[in-house]
Amino acid sequence: MLSGGILGGIVMLAIIGPLISPHDYLQTNFDNLLQRPGLSGAHIFGTDDLGRDLFVRAMRGVQITIVVAIVASAVSLVIGVAYGAIAGYVGGRVDAVMMRFVDTLYALPFIFFVILLMVAFERNFLLIFVAIGAINWLDMARIVRGQTLSLREREFVEAARLTGVSTARIIFRHIAPNLLGVVIVYVTLTIPQAILVESFLSFLGLGIQEPQTSLGGLVDAGVNQMEGASWMLLIPAGLLATVLLCFNFLGDAMRDIFDSRSAR
């Protein structure tokens, strides 16, 4: 609950902060390089090596990071659930072919895959979603398939089959709703994973490109100024850690809620 509150607070701040702040995240100010953070000054988080306001940039970073994470998780949710449920319910040869395809994708070295994408196409926002989504839905598909295999044998599914309920209706009316608990828990655990991957890519300079920024990009910039301006590293790194922790706790809380519900 506390983690949910903190997370809500950060997100609200990330949305409202840049709107009410007098500074813009792109606006440079060469008279004001590497200013220390402080509540009294105009820049509460200080400024970076180009004189940009770090508070606005950090909030912008949170926005981008969370949007990337949520969209990527949503992509993996839709593809993964549909793919896993179909493979698991239909079974047999269809299942074997579909799951071998997943295994093949698993075998692709992720970083290599991302670099290839970056080289082959223009670096853009969309590509990050594709790259992260392409990795995350594999896990989701496997988990959903496993659950579906056990649900398929449950008597209420057998009862539906016996009555003559169509396969599509069985999957969407009987299987999918009963996957909900597992899926929701897994999504809340996928989001921090996606955040980490995005930050990692941005840190390597493969993710979000300047002048746009994300928490990973800010940490990367901070590392370069670590000796003179430690706040440039500590503030985005602290935010990143807090957001990750909150999502993880939230995931645990969700699991407790859904576990107790299924045990009822």
Partner: protein, 583 residues
């Protein structure tokens, strides 16, 4: 002085009382039955005695064993008592035994843990104990893992592990509920036998089990004691109305409740049916071998057998849930082929199934109204929502649930209510044949009676045919016109209800009938006349598959499988049916 003394025991979870002011005592060497329906607090009492209650339970009162307090003492003090003071045998031995340890290791660990013997002696003592509980070839069982033993063997191993530290009191919590009736009789005889060494607290819902094996009986309801006394007294003259109700609902073989209505034309005919499960061509398991079954309109046919007898496979093949290997199924004049998906809607709506586990057969995410309406959506898609709602409400009314249940989820229903909903779903299409697969096995005695009464009522009103699969002969007695007895995939005997119970001709049927525990201390039943357990269908015995367990077996039984033939009033597959039937 009493060995175990429980005084004003209360176990509660927040404001939910599981046990309330329960007091009783067990003296040395005594056997006491603790009887109640599910949720009456019997298991909670056992866990309280052993100090195994979950952390969120609050206890009050006192439990003393040999004068030593067990409630609210430290784990260390409890451990000392658990070893040679109290031991427990749980319902499901597969859960209670460690799957990663050999049986012998598990038992010798108990000895070593409690410093009751040296490592060198442990093996000999364990082997002795395994022999004592009737495990054949103790040397081999010592090195066996739990999954390599059958259910009955596992329960024997569990009893051995409970006894090895020579406890003063053995608590057996529904020790035979998960076992077949013939194995149940064997285990109960074993428990009666070891009673010479230890006091026994037998927890069960089955009055028949208590009648045969306990000197004293305690009846609990809603966490409190309603009656206690000598078993004979309680069964003969129950003082409390709850006890009387339990006794009235207890399964009995001497009370026939043959349903109303007279059978009409044949609606379902299965001939020469075989079901084979293949393991990718390597091994094949013949679950059903050339079984014939006919069901007439308005008739109830019961199929009885122990687990592994093929009774479920037979009806599943008829329903199209598993493929039929050989044979013919004719339903209302039309031959049925293949899987359920490929059958016409008309046939599907004519054949409906009610499952054993009422909770598992209802989608937990759907409300009662949509669960019952689903078959209508498939078979009568043209109905308006209004008509559909009316039909659902009226069928729910018919199975004895009001409109208040329409918006409930399955987890908000009791077992009996959930089974009524499952029956309503099966009945809404007005089927010709209703198949009930162990439909009352998971229900308490009084609820079971109600569900059977409901089925009889529906049958009388609508002329429905019912195929009732069960392992419980008292259910057979109560509901069926005709009975089929199956053993290892074959039909061994079939006859009219009354004829079967008056004089069974097949030795297996006779043994089944003798093994049923009867709630009457004067003639308790529950006799273990069958040794051993059902052999594996992967490697069935030659000739008559029953011969290894049959006390009448002669040479011909080993080599030649008997044919079905009419003997007296029953059709039976046994070489010596005339002799045996006459006994």
């Amino acid at each position: 002085m009493s060995l175990l003394s429980v005084e004003d025991l209360t176990v509660r979870y927040g404001d939910n009382y599981a046990v309330r002011d329960l007091s009783f005592a067990v003296t040395r060497g005594e056997s006491v039955g603790l009887v109640g329906e599910s949720g009456s607090g019997k298991t909670q009492t056992a866990l309280a005695i052993l100090g195994l209650l979950p952390a969120n339970a609050t206890t009050e009162g006192s439990i003393t064993l040999n004068g030593r307090q067990l409630l609210g003492v430290t784990e260390k003090a409890l451990n000392a008592v658990r070893a040679n003071g109290v031991a427990i045998v749980f319902q499901d031995p597969m859960q209670a035994l460690n799957p990663f340890l050999q049986i012998g290791q598990q038992l010798s660990r108990i000895l070593l843990q409690h410093k009751l013997g040296k490592a060198a002696e442990a093996r000999a003592r364990v082997l002795e104990m395994l022999e004592r509980v009737g495990l054949p070839d103790p040397g081999r069982q010592y090195a066996a893992y739990p999954h390599q033993l059958s259910g009955g063997m596992r329960q024997r191993a569990m009893i051995a592990s409970a006894l090895i530290a020579e406890p003063m009191l053995l608590i057996a919590d529904e020790p035979t509920t998960a076992l077949d009736v013939t194995v149940q009789a064997q285990i109960l005889e074993l428990l009666a036998d070891i009673r010479k060494e230890t006091a026994l607290l037998l927890i069960t819902h089955d009055l028949g089990v208590v009648a045969g094996h306990c000197e004293r009986t305690l009846v609990v309801a809603e966490g409190g004691l309603v009656e206690q006394g000598a078993t004979r007294e309680i069964f003969a003259r129950p003082q409390h109305e709850h006890t009387a109700r339990l006794l009235a609902a207890a399964p009995r073989l001497d009370r026939a409740g043959v349903p109303a209505g007279s059978p009409g034309e044949t609606v379902l005919e299965i001939s020469g049916a075989s079901v084979v499960y293949a393991d990718r061509g390597r091994r094949s398991l013949r679950a059903v071998k050339e079984v014939d079954l006919t069901v007439q309109a308005g008739e109830t046919v019961a199929i009885v057998g122990e687990s592994g007898s093929g009774k479920s496979s037979l009806v599943r093949a008829a329903l199209g849930l598993v493929p039929l290997h050989a044979g013919r199924i004719v339903f209302c004049g039309a031959a049925l082929h293949g899987r359920a998906q490929n059958r016409s809607k008309k046939i599907r709506r004519g054949l409906q199934l009610v499952f054993q586990d009422p909770a598992g057969s209802l989608n937990p995410q759907m409300r009662v109204a949509s669960i019952i309406a689903e078959p209508l959506l498939v078979h009568e898609p043209d109905l308006t929502a209004e008509v559909r709602r009316e039909r659902v409400a009226s069928i729910l009314e018919k199975v004895g649930l009001g409109a208040g249940y329409l918006q409930r989820y399955p987890h908000e229903l009791s077992g009996g209510q959930a089974q009524r909903v499952a029956i309503a779903r099966a009945l809404i299409l007005s089927p010709t044949v209703l198949v009930c697969d162990e439909a009352v096995a998971a229900l308490d005695g009084t609820v079971r009676e109600q569900i059977l009464a409901l089925l009889r009522e529906v049958q009388a009103e609508e002329g429905l045919s019912i195929v009732f699969i069960t392992h419980d002969l008292s259910v057979v007695r109560a509901i069926s016109h005709r009975v089929l007895v199956m053993y290892l995939g074959s039909l061994v005997e079939s006859s009219e209800n009354a004829a079967l119970f008056a004089g069974a001709a097949h030795p297996y049927t006779k043994a089944l009938l003798q093994a049923v525990p009867v709630p009457d201390p004067e003639h308790a039943g529950g006799k273990a006349t069958l040794a051993g357990e059902v052999p594996s269908a992967l490697n069935p015995p030659s000739g008559c598959t029953f011969h290894p367990r049959c006390q009448h077996a002669r040479d011909i039984c080993k080599s030649e499988a008997p044919q079905q033939r009419l003997v007296g009033n029953t059709t039976v597959a046994c070489h010596f049916a005339e002799e045996i039937g006459g006994q």
